[in-house]
Amino acid sequence: MTHQNKITLVFLISPNSYPVEANVHEPLKVARDKALRAADQTGRPPDEWEVRYQGNVLSSTAKIEELGLADGAELELTLGFGAGG
């Protein structure tokens, strides 16, 4: 039986990659937080991390299906620029 709602997103946290199974009806941040736990990157609040796809920053509160991410999509996960002197 196939799970049509499930896809695999590959989070790149330099220099490693972390495949995460994600439900397309869930916000992206659910998968993001799974990837951060898998990478043992738990020292900073998850919301400080930015998810980029093909160079664009994605909204972590948007649902995966709304973002149009396909199975196997590679997402870059990096700490945000946190600007402001």
Partner: protein, 213 residues
């Protein structure tokens, strides 16, 4: 010098290699790479903003207006002024990768022809806008070490080595560094909306609107 230049040069070349597939995206953000020779990456920045000034007080023609001028009667009114293109001057951006990646790249602002350092009043304002906290000014004048304007942003040497950011050290970020991401973020800071008038004058900070909004 803190790092063997050969080591730094290899790490520099790796980052430069990341630029190729992102050059078009950078151009869309009005950033053109013009040089990438160790230890420098240099880009020309062409910041453009469209400007909307809402509710500007003016006198408008009115048949019963209290002000009589040679061309008729006028009353106080308000108009909105929209300038589709307001172009601050082009400037050169230099990233110095000396000692990378024990130190973050240093970022400085230059005349695009002579590559002399620009004085602070000739560097366009920069800000980053987020839904959570609104617009934040990120171009700050007078770094305590360089005495030059600097960008107060993570992944930049002037930020991580600033006395006020000793609690946010570069070592936490250097493994995540991406040159194209940094350039895109810098370019965005020069084309995103910024507040230039205080809330006491205009009660919002949406005066400046970037071209695609």
């Amino acid at each position: 010098m803190r790092v063997d230049p050969q080591v730094t040069a290899r790490k520099f070349q790796r980052q430069v290699g990341f630029l190729a597939p992102r050059r078009d995206a950078l151009r869309q953000k009005r950033c053109q790479i013009v040089r990438a020779e160790f230890p420098y990456v240099e880009a020309l920045m062409f910041p453009v903003r469209s400007v909307l000034l809402p509710d500007v007080p003016v006198l408008v023609p009115h048949p019963e207006g209290p002000y009589v001028l040679p061309n008729g009667r006028f009353a106080p009114g308000k108009i909105s002024l929209f300038y589709p293109y307001l172009a601050p001057r082009c400037f050169g951006l230099r990233l110095d990768f000396s000692d990378f990646d024990q130190r973050a790249p240093a970022v400085s602002f230059h005349d695009p022809l002579t590559w002399d350092h620009l004085p602070p009043d000739q560097v366009p304002p920069a800000a980053i806008n987020s839904a959570e906290v609104g617009a934040r000014k990120v171009l700050i004048d007078g770094h305590p070490e360089t005495q030059r304007p600097f960008l107060c942003m993570r992944y930049i040497r002037e930020y991580h080595e600033h006395p006020q950011h000793t609690d946010d050290p570069w070592v936490w970020y250097r493994g995540l560094f991406s040159l194209p991401n940094l350039l895109e973020q810098i370019a965005s800071a020069f084309i995103q909306p910024i507040p230039v008038v205080g809330p006491g004058i205009f009660p919002h900070n949406k005066l400046f609107v970037s071209p695609k909004e």
